[in-house]
């Protein structure tokens, strides 16, 4: 199987005034198409920073990042926006849906920027909503949905453009344990359909759903294992 993601010696240095802070101190890993990876680690260990690099939201200070065979380094902001639009799907801890906007239009959002016509957008958005089990909730505004349902809308939005990878930063962080389990079951189901998922979490029982766990500490990877870690 080919690597959908390949990081080589990624570093990210934050400069605050005269202080420097290296949040990623040389991170390298490859992720193969169809994997379900959990990124673990204590708070402040660099998980989100790494996700931002993977999400083409934040360029690394140095290192090489190949996404779906493309070298992302040196791309301009417009090219990166295109990559995010076509190759990536985001799921955030805080859902990050547009308020006062019907669920289905939230799901359509990436397709708007992809330049699809309104009919085709609606068709694909409805398919994605059905995939996450939200058929019938198309016209509900986020405020009319439960936390779990909102996260499903966010997952549908991440799915809708058939991305190479779905990136989820603490997707269950705002959810209770039974809702968390529902969302993880959904991720597992999607992964079985062949979708590559990279998920940040600091909860072991959430991470247990993934087939591979990468653990960070102080900006470095301290373990990368295919077996489910013991608690």
């Amino acid at each position: 199987m080919s690597s959908v993601i390949s990081l080589t010696d990624i570093r990210r240095v934050f400069i605050m005034g005269d202080q420097q802070f290296e949040a990623l101190k040389g991170v390298s890993f490859d992720i193969t198409t169809g994997e379900f990876v959990a990124i673990m680690g204590a708070s402040g260990s660099g998980k989100s920073t790494c996700m931002n690099v993977l999400g083409c939201l934040d360029p690394p200070t140095s290192g090489r990042y190949l996404l779906d065979g493309l070298d992302v380094g040196g791309m301009g902001t417009n090219e990166l926006a295109d990559i995010r639009n076509k190759k990536l799907g985001f799921v955030f801890q805080g859902f990050n849906l547009l308020a006062r906007t019907p669920a289905v239009e939230n799901v359509e959002l990436p397709l708007i920027y992809a330049g699809l016509g309104s009919r085709e957008r609606r068709r694909q958005a409805l398919i994605a909503m059905e995939q996450v089990g939200l058929a019938g909730k198309e016209n509900n505004h986020p405020s009319q949905l439960s936390g779990g349902q909102q996260q499903r809308v966010a997952i549908a939005r991440a799915l809708v453009n058939n991305p190479a990878v779905i990136l989820a930063d603490e997707p269950t962080g705002n959810l209770d344990s039974s809702t968390s389990e529902e969302i993880m079951n959904l991720f597992t189901a999607l992964n079985r359909q062949g979708i590559t998922i990279i998920m940040v979490t600091h909860e072991h029982d959430v991470a247990a759903f993934a087939g591979r766990q990468i653990t960070f500490r102080d900006g470095r990877i301290i373990s990368d294992s295919l077996t489910t870690a013991t608690v």
Partner: protein
């Protein structure tokens, strides 16, 4: 992203905060309404003046007795009896740029028909007068050269005079007494209507010049006229005709460098054209003053757009994360600003037009709303949106997606 979609997003954003959108628009509404109303009043004024120009006839030069000094007319001018019928005839025949010249005298007095009487202006004029003023006869006939040469006691009546003396009966052929002297009515002049200032222009009686000179006005010498009305052959020839008249009269009156001219020529259309220009300048000035309020409105738009960008930082972050380019965000906020100002512009145009109509109805001022001023106002409101929306939109587009997503 297609334009319709951008428009939809902008409309939704404006609808979310209806009250705020309206208050923001208010500045533009007031500004545009003021511009439209001011331009309407200004162009109404210049329209009145151009009507006045039309009503005195085109390409007219007036020759009156007395000289001008640099300060204006000398005292006693107009009263001096220095112009004659021969001067008028000579201008008509010897000045190549002149089409017609008519000597005129003026008197006022009672006109009596049976037991009816009416006080009016009595004008004596040669037949050319009616060519110059472009006053057609609607019933009967005009004053002829024979009437003039023979000093025949015939007269033409204006409609107001005819109505007051004869009611609805046809006066042609009747006898009226002008200053107790009997005259035969030979025709009625076409109705000229009210002057732009609201004066009745149909209240005069016309008789042949020579008849008037002999019977109705008193003068030291025979053949004196109180004014000569001249029509130049064309608009381009007005200045030339004026020079020719001055040369001719200087010669005829033996005016030398040592002797001041005893006559004055005035180009009426020119005087009014100057007035028209100053009215136009006035309307531009009023428009400029009103557009200051547009700028104030524009600053209001900018202020609210900046607030809106801050409030929607997270939304901007989400859009950027899922693929919006800087230009998409820029366009979205610009569209919102321009939509605000254009909507405000449309409402302002309606209000301004309504206001101008009200002014002309209740204050009696002439107003005129041109398509041109509406177009300019509309484009201007769009321009205000583009100008004042750009900075906030640029700020939104320049946000870093990570910071924007993390914004609380």
């Amino acid at each position: 992203m297609d334009f319709i979609q951008t428009l939809k997003i902008a409309l939704r954003a404006l609808r979310t905060n209806k009250m705020r959108s309206f208050l923001t628009m208010l500045g533009i509404i007031i500004g545009i309404a003021a511009v439209i109303a001011m331009m309407a009043v200004g162009s109404g004024a210049s329209y009145v003046i151009s009507q006045q120009i039309a009503s005195i006839g085109s390409n007219i030069i007036l020759v009156i007795p007395g000289s001008t000094t640099s300060g204006g007319l000398r005292t006693g001018s107009g009263g001096a009896q220095t112009l004659s019928s021969d001067d008028a005839r000579s201008i008509g025949t010897d000045c190549p740029s002149v089409a017609y010249a008519a000597g005129t005298v003026r008197a006022s007095g009672q006109i009596i028909s049976g037991n009816m009487n009416w006080s009016s202006v009595i004008m004596g004029g040669t037949p050319e007068l009616f060519e110059i003023r472009e006053w057609p006869v609607v019933s009967g006939r005009a004053i002829s050269q024979q009437d003039e040469d023979g000093a025949i006691k015939v007269c033409l009546l204006d409609q107001t005079v005819a109505e007051n003396l004869f009611g609805s009966a046809d006066p042609v052929g009747s006898i009226v007494r002008i200053k107790k002297i009997p005259f035969t009515v030979i025709g009625i002049l076409e109705r000229k209507g009210q002057s732009p200032q609201g004066q009745d222009q149909d209240d005069a009686v016309f008789v042949p010049l020579r008849t008037a000179q002999r019977n109705l006005v008193r003068s030291q010498r025979t053949g004196i006229v109180s004014a000569i009305i001249v029509k130049a052959k064309s608009e381009e020839l007005i200045d030339k005709a004026e020079k020719e008249i001055q040369m001719l009269l200087n010669q005829r009156h033996r005016i030398t460098a040592a002797k001041e001219p005893d006559f004055t020529t005035r180009n009426l259309s020119e005087i009014l054209a100057v007035a028209e220009q100053s009215a136009k300048a006035m309307s531009l000035l009023l428009g400029a003053v009103a557009s200051i309020s547009l700028i104030v409105g524009g600053i209001g738009i900018m202020n609210i757009m900046l607030v809106s960008v801050t409030e929607r930082t997270r939304e901007i972050g989400i859009r950027m994360a899922i693929g919006a380019k800087k230009n998409d965000i820029l366009l979205q906020f610009m569209t919102e600003a321009v939509l605000l100002t254009m909507l405000g512009g449309l409402i302002g145009i309606a209000l301004g037009a309504g206001g101008a109509t009200g002014v002309s109805r209740f204050l009696g001022w002439p107003t005129m709303i041109s398509i041109q001023s509406i177009t300019i106002a509309f484009l201007f409101s769009a321009a205000v949106g583009i100008f004042f929306g750009f900075y906030p939109a640029k700020k939104a587009a320049g946000l870093n997606p990570i910071d924007a997503l993390r914004y609380e």
